[in-house]
């Protein structure tokens, strides 16, 4: 019988930062997203839209532009005046080059991918040459009077359109001289005192320039004559972003009201060859400003201040009409931000610049299914730990006994020792850090809290032994072959013998901790790993992938278990495979080896390996059947996947002990309440 007391936790005040820029890379089908706190995330759109890599943010880095260049190189530029290149293999920042033009507002890579253009605060447009290991300043274009807020290259690379305040200039890219200037009206049909800010420009191959501005207009210009061809008023508020498809037959714009409009090139009459741009579809998936849009061959991607990333596949471009063509909204992180110390009932919450430690409340009452039990002791906020420096925290962990806390930023590693006396706790920082321990991508403590495992960004895995006063370095496992596919995930077995590490394209590596050598490697799978865990006693490694497949691999036997083979042969239920969000945590019941508990954002599931598997015809979401039905029917409809959707959206679910679960939820309204104000919309009847 599975009856649990559930701690419903809603005091994790997690607020994601708004999305500022989005850049789509066609060759690898990847999306780079940068947020207002400087974090840059890479989503793999072909791996079920999983966030595979991320670069932590920095307080001084306010990114304003992001772009991909030739050879899968990612560049960003921001208000601190620097152009930053990201190393996607080492997961660090390669270098930062100051453009010496003041804050940088816009950046565009040339169609050939070998040149980079930045628009600066002082009105200058600077051209950089991309060399194999760095970028080199080449030339300044003619300086304009006001800040350059948007840039666009002509597909042939001969001309450049730059949007500024109240005008658009067209440059010749070979000589750098301004050959034309197009003045933009401040308001559609009228005069206005507010200056018109050109938020986005796009240059098409037939010489048309499309501009979007703060008066809510989408204007189509002819750059050869410098005249306005067509004027569309799409909104009362600013239109803040524009993206054109590769075939140049459609483009998408995002407004400050949260609406995304799709424009398409349509023939005037069905027989004529003359075409014009027509606004075809509006989409209202956002509540706040849409500051970034991108156009992939089959989908429209938008992101804004309301922190959702929305990917809307276009029906006419999708080949097969299945669940892949549904709207995807990515709101919650694809990795764990909560760690749990089970014995002391402590939760560690990871924020951008601080950590919070809470002790759960307790109750003495009992009740039946569905009751809310009153707390005899409230949840306690024990610790608020701020990290020094402007960088964001990458990862954090608390040891299962609750005595150690470790966290890491991009340049420093912090380890703290906690002591509990009666009701007080005292904190001591371990100050002497070894030189090679700079930053960590993932941190994990062993079950008995004697060892610390750190996966660092050079690909190596280090093992430390924890002592009373500090810690000593035991061993470093060298990086294995294979490219870095996603962020490293670690799992350690409860008896402390085995350590599993994922993240490379070679598969999941399993190390023997006692003998300090590589034991085996789970065969590689083409989708990245989203969660890893090793079961007690049986030492089965359970792996969840981003396409919702779950594998079970026996470490001592070095092969997949029988149950896993059965599941793969039969296949998962189609509703299980159609889930949107990845599984982020797997845990086990201490007394029942047949149970696996896993959760994603909208459900948590207890897999009972002893029960039969559901086939596609049975009902997957099986609520408790009514008691008046006979036992036979109950047994017939029961299957291995016990799913509950009662608590959502979930950030973390774990089994504290045999009879207690903890579920950390984050209601969406609480996030919306702490976002910047949206545009006022007048609704009839209010």
């Amino acid at each position: 019988m599975g009856e649990f007391n559930v701690h419903r936790v809603r005091f994790f005040n997690y607020v994601p930062s708004g999305i500022r820029c989005v850049a789509y890379n066609n060759q690898s089908n990847r999306l780079a997203v940068s947020r207002t706190d400087g974090t840059v995330e890479i989503y793999n759109l072909s791996a079920n839209y999983f966030q595979e890599k991320f670069f932590p943010g920095h307080e001084s880095r306010a990114t304003e532009a992001l772009c991909w260049a030739k050879g899968q190189r990612l560049f960003s530029a921001g208000l601190n005046g620097e152009i930053i290149e990201y190393d996607l293999q080492a997961l660090t920042i390669k270098y930062a080059v100051d453009a010496f033009g003041g804050p940088i507002w816009s950046m565009a890579a040339s169609p050939s991918g070998s040149q980079l253009l930045v628009g600066c605060e002082d009105g200058s447009v600077k051209l950089f040459q991309i060399t194999p290991d760095k970028i080199q300043f080449e030339r300044n274009f003619d300086r304009q009077k006001s800040r350059i807020l948007s840039l666009s290259w002509h597909p042939a690379g001969t001309h450049v359109a730059a949007g500024s305040i109240d005008y658009i200039s067209v440059f010749d890219s070979k000589s750098g001289s301004a050959i034309g200037k197009m003045l933009v009206d401040r308001q559609y049909m009228g005069v206005s005192k507010r200056k018109c800010i050109i938020w986005g420009v796009a240059f098409l191959s037939d010489g048309t320039v499309i501009s979007v501005d703060s008066a809510g207009k989408v204007q189509i210009w002819d750059s050869a004559t410098g005249t306005l061809v067509k004027n569309h008023l799409v909104s009362n508020a600013d239109v803040q972003s524009i993206a054109v498809s590769a075939q140049e037959d459609s483009f998408v714009v995002g407004t400050a009201e949260g609406t995304v409009f799709h424009f398409q090139l349509v023939s005037v009459t069905s027989s004529s060859s003359e075409k014009q741009w027509v606004r075809t579809k509006p989409f209202q998936h956002h509540t706040h400003d849409v500051r970034a849009v991108a156009h992939s061959p089959t989908a429209l991607i938008s992101g804004g201040t309301d922190t959702h990333l929305v990917i809307r596949p276009l029906m006419e471009k999708v080949e097969v009409k299945n669940y892949d063509a549904a709207l995807r909204k990515i709101t919650f992180p694809h990795r764990r931000l909560v760690s749990c110390a089970k014995k002391k009932q402590l939760l560690l919450f990871q924020f951008a610049h601080h950590l919070e430690l809470w002790r759960l409340g307790s109750t003495v009452a009992t009740g039946k299914n569905g009751d809310t039990l009153p707390l005899s002791k409230n949840a306690d906020h024990l610790l608020h730990l701020k990290t020094k420096g402007p960088e964001n925290i990458i990862c954090s962990c608390i040891s299962p006994c609750g005595g150690w806390i470790a966290c890491s930023t991009a340049s420093r590693f912090f380890l703290y020792r906690l002591n509990y006396e009666h009701d007080n706790i005292s904190l001591q920082r371990v100050s002497k850090m070894p030189v090679f321990l700079r930053s960590a991508l993932q941190i994990l403590f062993s079950e008995d809290s004697t060892k610390l495992f750190v996966a660092s960004n050079q690909g190596s895995l280090r093992v430390f032994r924890l002592l009373e006063g500090g810690f000593t370095h035991l061993h470093s496992f060298q990086p294995q072959s294979g490219t870095v596919q996603s962020m490293c995930l670690l799992a350690v077995s409860p008896d402390g013998n085995w350590l599993a590490a994922s993240g490379t394209s070679a598969g999941v590596h399993v190390y023997n901790v006692k003998q300090l050598k590589l034991h085996c490697t789970v065969p590689a799978y083409n989708f990245p790993v989203t969660a890893l865990a090793i079961a007690p006693n049986t030492n089965n490694l359970v792996i969840a992938h981003s396409d919702q497949q779950v594998f079970e691999y026996s470490i001592p036997d070095k092969q997949y278990t029988e149950w896993s083979r059965t599941v793969q042969k039969q296949g998962f239920h189609h509703l299980w495979l159609q889930r949107d969000t990845p599984i982020t945590h797997i845990s086990f019941h201490p007394k029942r080896p047949m149970h696996i508990l896993l959760h994603d954002t909208y459900m948590f599931c207890l897999i009972d390996k002893s029960l039969p598997l559901p086939n596609d015809k049975t009902l997957l979401y099986n609520p408790l059947p009514p008691t008046n039905e006979s036992d036979v029917i109950r047994r017939r409809t029961a299957h291995a996947f016990k799913i509950s959707k009662k608590y959502k959206p979930l950030l973390f679910v774990d089994l504290l002990d045999e009879k207690t679960l903890v579920a950390v939820e984050r209601p969406l309204d609480d996030i919306i309440a702490q976002l910047p104000p949206p545009i006022k919309k007048k609704k009839f009847g209010t």
């Binding site: 009856e3 703060s214 047994r635 016990k642 104000p677």
Partner: protein, 275 residues
């Protein structure tokens, strides 16, 4: 019905005769006829009289004889009068200008500090400038904070000296560490973006109102959403205050919390079907 007078040669007379005769006879006629006639009658009347007088005088007297001396005297008088008036005008102007200048000087004096204070300042700055090299020597032994404080003091004093001595120097000495050029531009850029998106003229609403919109359109109208936590919606709160009214009761502790939002709503019993 008009009877002409015997002087047929005088055309105006005939006109006046016409009019005179016409007035009593044609009173019933429309006014415009009379009106047209009247001014001309006035104009016609005068030359009639003058001619009659002129006729008499021209025939009788000869022109007067004036001596050369008297004429000269008159002319000289005229000249003297003209010169007098010009001189008087110039004198008046001069006086006016003098008075104005005095007024301006007085106003300027009022704006400046009184002399005593100015003297004090100049002596004080000179002495502090003399002191600062000594101070800097001492400072090496003290903590960094104090050093920075004293350094900035000496800088301020130097600045004051430049301003009050009144020489034509238009520079100001500042320490590079106190000012970060890059940061000031970055701050200006951030302020620009903030102004464009959230400044005056943008049509923004508060988060409160935005969340309440749904409540107002439901068939069972619910109350507007209000926050228990005072720190939520801070940007909106500033926007409200800047609009000129601050409704304190709007934000402080409230009877109706947002639905389902207590920090830890207790521990629930839940059972999963695992038969």
């Amino acid at each position: 019905m008009v009877q002409l007078r015997p002087r047929a040669s005088r055309a105006p007379a005939s006109a006046s005769a016409m009019v005179d005769e016409g007035q009593p006879a044609s009173e019933e006629e429309a006014g415009h006829g009379l009106l047209l006639g009247q001014p001309s009658s006035g104009a016609a009347a005068e030359p009639l009289e003058e001619d009659e007088e002129g006729d008499d005088e021209i025939d009788d007297e000869a022109p007067e004889e004036l001596t050369f001396a008297s004429a000269q005297a008159e002319a000289k008088e005229e000249e003297r009068r003209v010169r007098e008036t010009v001189r008087r005008d110039r004198a008046l102007l001069k006086e006016k200008r003098k008075r104005r200048e005095e007024l301006f000087i007085e106003q300027k004096k009022r704006k400046l500090l009184p002399d005593t204070i100015l003297e004090k300042l100049t002596t004080a700055s000179q002495t502090s400038v003399k002191k600062s090299p000594g101070k800097l020597k001492e400072v090496n032994l003290q903590k960094k904070n104090e050093e920075r404080g004293k350094g900035s003091d000496s800088k301020k004093a130097k600045v004051q000296k430049v301003q009050t001595v009144g020489q034509n120097k238009s520079y100001m000495a500042v320490r590079l560490k106190d000012q970060d050029l890059r940061d000031s531009r970055q701050e200006a850029a951030k302020a620009f973006i903030q102004n464009c998106l959230y400044g005056p003229g943008t049509n923004r609403t508060t988060v409160n109102k935005f969340l309440s919109l749904e409540n107002k359109r439901l068939p069972m109208k619910k109350a507007a959403a209000q926050f228990l936590n005072n720190t939520w919606g801070p940007v909106a709160r500033q926007a409200l205050l800047s609009m000129g009214f601050s409704r304190q009761e709007h934000w402080s502790g409230l009877p109706c919390p947002p639905p389902g939002d207590l920090p830890n709503p207790g521990i629930e019993l839940m059972s999963l079907a695992l038969q």
